[in-house]
């Protein structure tokens, strides 16, 4: 493949960022919006071409047709910063199944969001929001960074773009910068992820020190020359040996490789909002809703999953690290689902739902083993990443439409909107069905694969994750009913009756809903697997996924989802006292869920009362009073000493003579004594 198209995919968003960022003020908002959409649209088309070529062209660079194996292909790779001869940060473009998949996901969602924002970022009178151009500039920056992240050829390039997406996320969360809560949320998001990135960085340093390379292909496979995408077991052993020898000491009982992998995973935990680093994501909803859809639902937050998937062959060498991933993911999934059942702010429900779904992907990676169904967990995780991006972006964009129409984030201000906003209603329902895992919507297939993979690994986690899947269906339908049913909508004083939004906003909803309906039929097993081998070498079609299903698991999860939906229907379809009764029956549980298990308070306590009060303040005090005091003390002592001896200089001539006389006599005496 020529270098032009892949390069353009990165350059166009970057150029749009510079153009809109530097010259945005000089253009009208409409022009900048159109330019942004055009730029992203072009990028999307290019990304489609590149991905399509990668998956389906049959080019021997990309696929080994005889072995039914997809290969990794480095389109370009230029030196950017060389530390030592072997440790060099290169900026490049790596094309492999997951990168190609993510290219499609990111550009699609990003384009939808660009289009949607043309409608969303103006008020009911059609006046553009202040800073509209800036908004598009930041969206372009984000898209550039995210695309750079997924095509990274080495772990340090990933880290670079990892930081850049963090910064663009900061800028976009804080888009409404005069609002203090938005500023705080942006700051929190950045600092929490920064803390996680510290782990990531140290992990990279450790890994690269012992392996002597940053390159993914060196780390995960050996056959650089042919660019093959499967782990050569011999090299895998080599890397393992590097860490097993005495040159790499163990630390606190675990090998350095385990430590490095766990620390790298910590970076992923931060970005992907795994417990206990999840606290920034609900607050990040302060940003404009399209941003939440793009960054905090579909793309950036799955970067952690992508990172683990990218290094999966390494993780496979240390099963302990995979176990950690599984446990963290499972606990987070359950926790977030619990919390999502009690939130009032619809965006927060969706945010916790996102956390929970990403945790599903993490669990799926954690339980993936090559022995079981060719590592189905890996495929399932990427599949879920793909479908989740579509339906969660859809749900967020629906939420945006609702918020835009109602002017409030709380479902208590909504209720009974189904007749007022039919398009939003239908698309939201499709999103809910997809996430709940109802056949034939997208979420059914991907979630089912995840549960299958989990069952193959451990029954306990299978039951656990099925329960979480049930909870998911319950809270999503709770939300759905509370927004669209429950009771008739009361139009607030001085407001118009809510109605569907202009085409720029509804069109993305419809497109994403359509994708959510059919995405489940993409034969992902043939496109994305952990070692590139196609799962169905005999060929795949649209019903492959249906045929390949493990129907025991599928029917159980379907039954769980339907029961949960029925429960939600009973409780929330019409206004009734059941929910209130439940709340009274379990007040403590409800309270803890409602307050998100007091994580924020805990963090507040740690940062405000411990770090600021017990660390920073004492250090500042120490500096001002002890260090500075010592230096001032030197000055003071000198000063005092000078004052003490200046009494000699009394101005009284006769005293001087006395001293002089004494001196002369003393000197004379000494001289005489010496002479004697």
């Amino acid at each position: 493949m020529s270098i032009t198209l892949p390069l353009l995919i990165l350059v166009i968003p970057l150029f749009m960022f510079l153009l809109l960022g530097l010259a945005g003020n000089k253009m009208s908002p409409r022009l900048s919006g159109i330019l942004g959409c055009l730029g992203m649209g072009t990028t999307m088309v290019l990304a489609y071409i590149v991905s399509f070529t990668y998956f389906f062209s049959g080019n021997p660079d990309f696929v080994d047709a005889e072995a039914h194996t997809r290969l990794q292909w480095v389109v370009f790779n230029v030196d950017w910063l060389s530390f030592t001869d072997s440790l060099v940060i290169r900026l490049g473009f790596l094309l492999d199944p997951i990168a190609a998949l993510l290219l499609v996901v990111i550009t699609t969602i990003s384009f939808m969001v660009h289009l949607y924002s043309m409608g969303y970022m103006r008020d009911h009178h059609g006046v553009w929001e202040k800073g509209f151009q800036r908004f598009y500039a930041f969206l372009s920056l984000f898209s550039f960074s995210m695309l750079g992240l997924v095509v990274a050829t080495n772990i340090f390039q990933m880290y670079i773009f990892w930081e850049l997406v963090g910064a663009s996320s900061y800028l976009l969360i804080g888009f409404y910068y005069p609002k203090p809560s938005a500023v705080l949320a942006a700051k929190k998001a950045f600092i929490v992820t920064r803390f996680a990135d510290l782990g990531f960085l140290i992990g990279i340093l450790a890994l690269s020190y012992y392996t002597g390379t940053f390159n993914f292909m060196d780390l995960t496979s050996s056959q650089l020359v042919s660019g093959a995408y499967h782990v050569n077991l011999e090299t895998a052993e080599n890397i393992k040996n590097i860490f097993a020898t005495s040159a790499a000491p163990t630390f606190m009982g675990a090998s350095v490789l385990t430590w490095a992998l766990v620390l790298i995973f910590m970076g992923g935990m931060g970005k992907s909002a795994m417990m206990p680093l999840h606290i920034w994501l609900p607050d990040a909803m302060e940003g404009p809703t399209p941003v939440s859809a793009l960054i905090h639902a579909a793309t950036m937050v799955v970067a952690g999953v992508y990172l683990v998937a990218r290094l999966f062959p390494l993780y496979l060498m240390e099963e302990a690290s995979l176990e950690i991933i599984t446990v963290v993911g499972a606990i987070t999934a359950f926790y977030a689902a619990m919390v999502a059942c009690t939130q009032i702010d619809i965006k927060r429900v969706l945010a916790f739902s996102t956390i929970s779904q990403i945790a599903f992907m993490m669990v799926s990676l954690g339980v993936a083993r090559p022995e079981f169904h060719h590592g189905i967990g890996y495929m399932a995780s990427m599949f879920h990443l793909f479908t989740h991006a579509m339906f969660k972006a859809l749900l967020f964009l629906c939420a945006g439409a609702l918020i835009h129409a109602i002017g409030s984030n709380d479902y208590t201000d909504m209720h009974g909107l189904r007749k007022h906003m039919p398009v939003t209603h239908i698309t939201f329902l499709i999103g809910c069905l997809a996430i709940a895992g109802i056949i034939p919507f997208a979420g059914f297939f991907s979630k089912d694969e995840i549960l299958t993979a989990t069952m193959g690994h451990s029954t306990f986690w299978y039951i656990w994750m099925s329960a979480v899947a049930g909870l998911t269906a319950f809270y999503m339908f709770r939300l759905y009913y509370l927004i669209f049913w429950w009771k008739e909508h009361k139009v607030r004083e001085g407001h118009h009756a809510p109605h569907d939004q202009p085409w720029t906003m509804t069109l993305p909803l419809v497109i994403l809903a359509a994708i959510s309906c059919v995405a489940g039929f993409v034969p992902m097993g043939n496109l994305v697997t952990w070692n590139g081998h196609e799962m169905f070498p005999e060929g795949a079609s649209f019903i492959t996924n249906l045929k390949a299903l493990d129907w025991t698991v599928a029917s159980i999860s379907l039954a769980v989802a339907i029961i949960a939906i029925i429960l939600a229907t009973v409780m929330y379809r019409k206004e009734n006292p059941l929910p209130a009764k439940m709340k009274q029956a379990l007040p403590a549980l409800w309270d803890w869920c409602y307050h998100r298990f007091y994580w924020d308070e805990l963090y507040m306590f740690i940062t405000k009362s411990i770090i600021f009060q017990r660390v920073c303040k004492p250090i500042a005090w120490f500096d001002r009073h002890i260090i500075d005091g010592t230096m001032d003390g030197f000055a003071l002592v000198t000063n005092k000493l000078s004052y003490a001896i200046r009494g000699f200089q009394s101005g009284n001539t006769q005293t001087y003579v006395w001293w002089y006389l004494i001196g002369v006599l003393a000197l004379g005496g000494i001289t005489i004594l010496c002479l004697l």
């Binding site: 200046r646 200089q649 009394s650 101005g651 001539t653 006769q654 006395w658 006389l661």
Partner: protein, 103 residues
């Protein structure tokens, strides 16, 4: 020569010590100036005596004495001028009151 050097030296020593004593104890600047003259003269006499007794063939001591007398005269003139100026400024020539020249 019956009279040995010591007979001259003792009175000059006494004279010199009187000078020191006076310089330290008298508060009046004129009196202090006089004390200085006493000391100077004691030294002058010593010069002459040493010249006379130790190096009778030479004249350096004599010459030096003359020189010192001249310098002392100039110095006294200067000192008197300062004292008069001080008196004009302070209406007082008590040395213990003139302690501005310090630090």
């Amino acid at each position: 020569m019956d009279i040995s050097m010591i007979y001259y030296l003792v009175p000059t020593l006494v004279m010199f010590c009187c000078g020191i004593y006076g310089f330290i104890t008298r508060k009046n600047m004129i009196a202090m100036l006089i004390s200085i003259e006493l000391m100077l003269n004691a030294v002058d006499i010593n010069f002459v005596i040493f010249n006379r007794y130790l190096f009778p063939g030479q004249l350096e001591g004599m010459m030096f004495t003359l020189f010192a007398i001249a310098i002392a005269a100039a110095e006294t003139a200067l000192a008197i001028a300062i004292i008069i100026n001080l008196f004009r400024a302070h209406k007082n020539i008590d040395v213990s009151d003139i302690t501005k020249m310090k630090f």
